[in-house]
Structures are given as structure tokens and as C-alpha cells.
């Protein structure tokens, strides 16, 4: 049996110096984690990154010991080596009680604040959003640059749309990368792994909404194999694009798609192996996941809603005289809230929409078994269903009809 040595990875003099503790134990430990994970995967060397996006920051997800681990790094005085943004936390900072069907006690708030204090001390930009790809500090990063991002939907967007290179950095890996400014040179950092080999051909792609694209994401995640991105020739708006990528990230391990007209990079169209996906598969799954009884809550904003979404939601609400006899929640980023026009905010308010920042229903302690939620997000359907919440799919364009029917 061949046993690979663990000293196989090539390290620069600078990296060896950091591993030896010359820049403190925190950097040494963080680099050791990256090197060992890289070696376990067979990476030959490390790669410098220019940006990190840290996931796994909600107290609900990482608990007391996650909080303590992050604090121990911060207490060492170490600073992040690159610009770093942060995923949503468990509640809205401006109003911790704004999420319906969620209990957030003082202890929870205190623990969550401790995590934020540690991240801030290391130099994080507390953006608290899962859509860092809309922020100017991210969109200004040059195409082809290596970054290290947690949060699967953001990873897919970075690789597919922005042309940035990142693997799915799970658990504390994005934190370690932020501390060291490095990650292992592996997977989607290598050009050859970014070239598509299989094209998924839809027999009928007319008039698909974002919930249909979410279901398409589920289907492709279940059949696509290997690291190279699936290729698709689809024409979709920003909302559908985001829901499609988020669904792919939730339902499987895919970290990049090659979409004709959106993704830049090498593709040999003649060599693509073709696989058919039939519209009737999408339609029957939509039917199965459709609304069967009045939802207690309608949810948009997973991933965080952009300005476009909020405008379309407002126009649907404006088109009906009825008010929904339940709750409507939209989660988004502080940055998006700041960019909304007064008219949109006015319409949302008058229809009782709760516009919530810094968090989302998936990372907050939201819901209970049997609660009925309708959402346009396949991703939140996937995660909220695991908590016993009864989730159905509706798209934004169906909102008016749903309000009038239920």
C-alpha cells in the first residue's frame, strides 16, 4: 500500500516561518489547519488569497465552543491578513425580536455579540450578509483572483458570475484563511477544474420563474458528478440566477456552474457530453411542493433579497387590495435596505411586510414543527424542512394570487 508522506506539500520560506510560530501561535495554528487539510486532499502547495468571506458565525450553528474558539484567536491579538466579510447571524442587530416564531433570549444575544466582537477585533467588516457578491468591496476584486469563501450560495456566485476562484470552505476554514491570507491550492483554484464537460439541455425553458430554477438546481445537483462545472445555456434574470445557484449549493456539493453568456472562461462546446433535463420533471416537482393549505408565513430573501426582488414584491402587493392574513417576511442586507427607495419601503410597510436585516430564517432559531411556510427559495425549503417546518414553493410573481386565494 502506498502511503503518502504528510510533508509532501511544498511550503515557501515565509510559510515555514509562520508554521514555526514566528508570527504568533494563532497564525501558526491557522496555517497548520490549512496545510493539513490541503495535504489530506493531496494539494501540492498553498495559494495566496485576496478576500475571505466567513460563514459559521451564527451562535445557533456554532454554539458556545465555536464562540470560544473564535475568541481564543481574537485574544491572541492576531489580525486578518486580507479583507474579510461575514455571513448573517441569528437575529437583526437593530431589533433582535423582529423574527416571528423565534425566541431569542438575552443569553443568545450576548453570545452572538461575543462572536461579533471577536471577529471585529480581528478586522472583519461585519456585513452580516450571505450575498457579499453585491457589495462594492467585493465586486471590485479582479476576475481570476483566488479568494476563500464559506457559504455555498456565495461560492457558486463567485465562481460562476464574478469569475473569482474559491472552493467551498466549510466549518472554520474560511476563518483560518482570513487569518493567514492563504488557502490550499486545490479544486476550483486550478483552471482545468473550471472547464465544463457535461451540458444539461432543457427541452423547454420558456417562462420559468425563480422557484422553477430552484427545482432545476435540485435536479442537476442529484445527477451531476465530479468537480468540473455543469454547462447550461439558459437565459435568466438576477433573482432566478441567485435562487438557482443557492439550490445547487444546498442540494449537493457543486461549487460552480458554467452558464453561457454569464460565465467567462474556456469551454469546448463540441466536446461537451449532453444530458437532457425535461420540463415535465420540473413541473411535477413544483406541483408536489406547491401550496396545499394557507401558509402561516410567506418568506422571501434566502439568499438575501436584492433591490430588484424588493421592487417586484412591492409591485405584487400593490396590485391587490387584500392584505395577507398571515406574516410576510423578507430578509436582506443592511446595504440593500439603505439603497431602497422610499416608495418601495412605504408599500412594504403598508402591507405589513417585515423587512429584516443581518439574519435569515435558516440561521436564526426560527419556527417549530408543523409551521406552514411558503417561499420562493428552494434553499430555505431544503433547510427549514429538516426542522419539521412544512415548506411549500411559491414564486414572487404568484404572490398576488396567493394572497387573494388564501
Amino acid at each position: 500500500m502506498v502511503v503518502l508522506g504528510v510533508e509532501d506539500m511544498y511550503l515557501t520560506k515565509e510559510e515555514e516561518r509562520i508554521l514555526g510560530g514566528e508570527e504568533g501561535w494563532a497564525k501558526a495554528k491557522a496555517l497548520e489547519v490549512i496545510v493539513k487539510v490541503g495535504e489530506s486532499l493531496g494539494a501540492e502547495r498553498l495559494v495566496n488569497i485576496e478576500h475571505a468571506h466567513i460563514s459559521g458565525v451564527s451562535y445557533r450553528n456554532i454554539g458556545r465552543h465555536g464562540e470560544e474558539l473564535i475568541k481564543s484567536f481574537a485574544d491572541s491579538g492576531v489580525r486578518f491578513s486580507v479583507k474579510t466579510t461575514v455571513n448573517p447571524i441569528g437575529f437583526d442587530l437593530e431589533d433582535p425580536s423582529s423574527i416571528p416564531y423565534a425566541t431569542i433570549d438575552e443569553g443568545y444575544v450576548r453570545h452572538q455579540y461575543n462572536i461579533l466582537t471577536s471577529l471585529k477585533a480581528m478586522g472583519a467588516d461585519l456585513t452580516l450578509s450571505c450575498t457579499p457578491y453585491y457589495l462594492p468591496q467585493v465586486t471590485s476584486i479582479k476576475e481570476g483572483t483566488s479568494v476563500a469563501w464559506g457559504e455555498s450560495n456565495a461560492v457558486l456566485y463567485a465562481n460562476t458570475v464574478l469569475g473569482l476562484k474559491t472552493n467551498r470552505e466549510g466549518g472554520p476554514m474560511s476563518l483560518m484563511a482570513a487569518i493567514t491570507g492563504k488557502t490550499y491550492y486545490y479544486g476550483l483554484h486550478l483552471e482545468e477544474n473550471r472547464v465544463p464537460r457535461v451540458e444539461y439541455v432543457l427541452d423547454n425553458k420558456s417562462n420559468m420563474d425563480e422557484a422553477d430554477y430552484g427545482v432545476l438546481g435540485e435536479i442537476i445537483a442529484s445527477i451531476h458528478e465530479g468537480i468540473n462545472p455543469p454547462y447550461l445555456d439558459i437565459d435568466l434574470d438576477e433573482i432566478s440566477l441567485r435562487e438557482f445557484l443557492a439550490a445547487l449549493g444546498a442540494a449537493g456539493n457543486i461549487a460552480m456552474v458554467y452558464i453561457n453568456g454569464i460565465t467567462r472562461g474556456r469551454v469546448k462546446k463540441g466536446e461537451l457530453k449532453k444530458e437532457m433535463v425535461y420540463r415535465k420533471e420540473i413541473e411535477s416537482r413544483r406541483e408536489e411542493l406547491g401550496i396545499k393549505e394557507r401558509p402561516d408565513l410567506i418568506y422571501f430573501g434566502c439568499p438575501h433579497a436584492g433591490v430588484d426582488d424588493l421592487r417586484v414584491i412591492a409591485s405584487q402587493l400593490k396590485a391587490t387590495k387584500r392584505k395577507f392574513d398571515g406574516k410576510i417576511v423578507v430578509t436582506t442586507s443592511r446595504d440593500t435596505i439603505a439603497r431602497l427607495g422610499k416608495e418601495t419601503i412605504g408599500i412594504l410597510r403598508s402591507h405589513g411586510v417585515r423587512l429584516i436585516g443581518d439574519t435569515c430564517l435558516v440561521v436564526s432559531p426560527f419556527g417549530y414543527k408543523g409551521l406552514r411556510v411558503a417561499t420562493n427559495s428552494y434553499k430555505s425549503l431544503y433547510y427549514l424542512s429538516k426542522r419539521g417546518i412544512k415548506v411549500s414553493l411559491l414564486s414572487i410573481r404568484e404572490l398576488k394570487d396567493v394572497i387573494e386565494k388564501w
Binding site: 504528510v6 495554528k29 489547519v33 493539513k36 487539510v37 489530506s40 456554532i62 465552543h65 465555536g66 483560518m176
Partner: protein, 125 residues
């Protein structure tokens, strides 16, 4: 006595009784406060032998929590490791060996005495 040679991803020495789990996901399968598995067995001070690890995003923090609560296994042996578990073991200083075939790992039973010495795994010496 049987000896297997694997790869020491986190180096160290450990001695204890085996607990064999076919597939393990630290998030969901293990209570970080008590070190108890979903089936009632304890990982505390044992050598965890697992054929297939399943990745779950906060698994590294669970491994770290087990160590901080003094209920962690003394070492972990797997056929192939995955990033979440490697990261958790490095952060907690728990010796980790991979690169031993599932066929070889299947000869190890609950309660066998295991010695882990770098990449070397000795069974019932």
C-alpha cells in the same frame, strides 16, 4: 497482534479501546457535552474507528467542543478523512490517522485495544 500502516495527518500517541462507527457526522451524531453517540455508546477516551466520515459544516466545532469538555476520543482512525474532520482534529490536537482500507478497518471490533503511534495502528498487542 495486527498492525496497519496509515498516514498520520495529526501526529501523536494514543492508547485506548476501539469504538467502531460505520459512518459518522459529528454534527448530529455526537453530543458535544457528553461525548455520547446517538446509539448510546461513549467516545470519551476511546479510539474512534470510522469507515466513512460525512462532512457537515460545523463538525469541526463539535470536535473542538468534545475536547474542551474532556469527552473527546483519544484518537481518530479513518479510511479517508475529509476537511471538516481534519480541521477539527488539528484545532483540538487529536491524533488523526487515515489511509487504512475499509477492509482492514473492518477487522477492528468494539473494545479491541488500540495503540496509535504516528501513522502506525496496533490492534490487541
Amino acid at each position: 497482534m495486527v498492525a496497519f500502516k496509515g498516514r498520520a495527518l495529526v501526529k501523536g500517541f494514543a492508547e485506548g479501546e476501539a469504538v467502531v462507527v460505520n459512518e459518522i457526522s459529528f454534527y448530529g451524531d455526537v453530543d458535544p457535552e457528553t461525548g455520547m453517540l446517538f446509539d448510546g455508546r461513549s467516545l470519551r477516551d476511546k479510539i474512534l474507528v470510522s469507515y466513512k466520515p460525512r462532512g457537515s459544516t460545523v463538525g469541526s466545532y463539535i470536535i473542538y467542543a468534545l475536547k474542551m469538555n474532556n469527552v473527546s476520543p483519544k484518537a481518530i482512525i479513518m479510511s479517508s478523512s475529509e476537511p471538516i474532520i481534519v480541521a477539527g482534529c488539528v484545532l483540538s490536537g487529536i491524533p488523526l490517522v487515515d489511509g487504512i482500507s475499509i477492509k482492514d478497518l473492518k477487522t477492528i471490533k468494539d473494545g479491541d485495544l488500540i495503540i496509535v503511534k504516528e501513522g502506525l495502528v496496533l490492534v490487541n498487542e
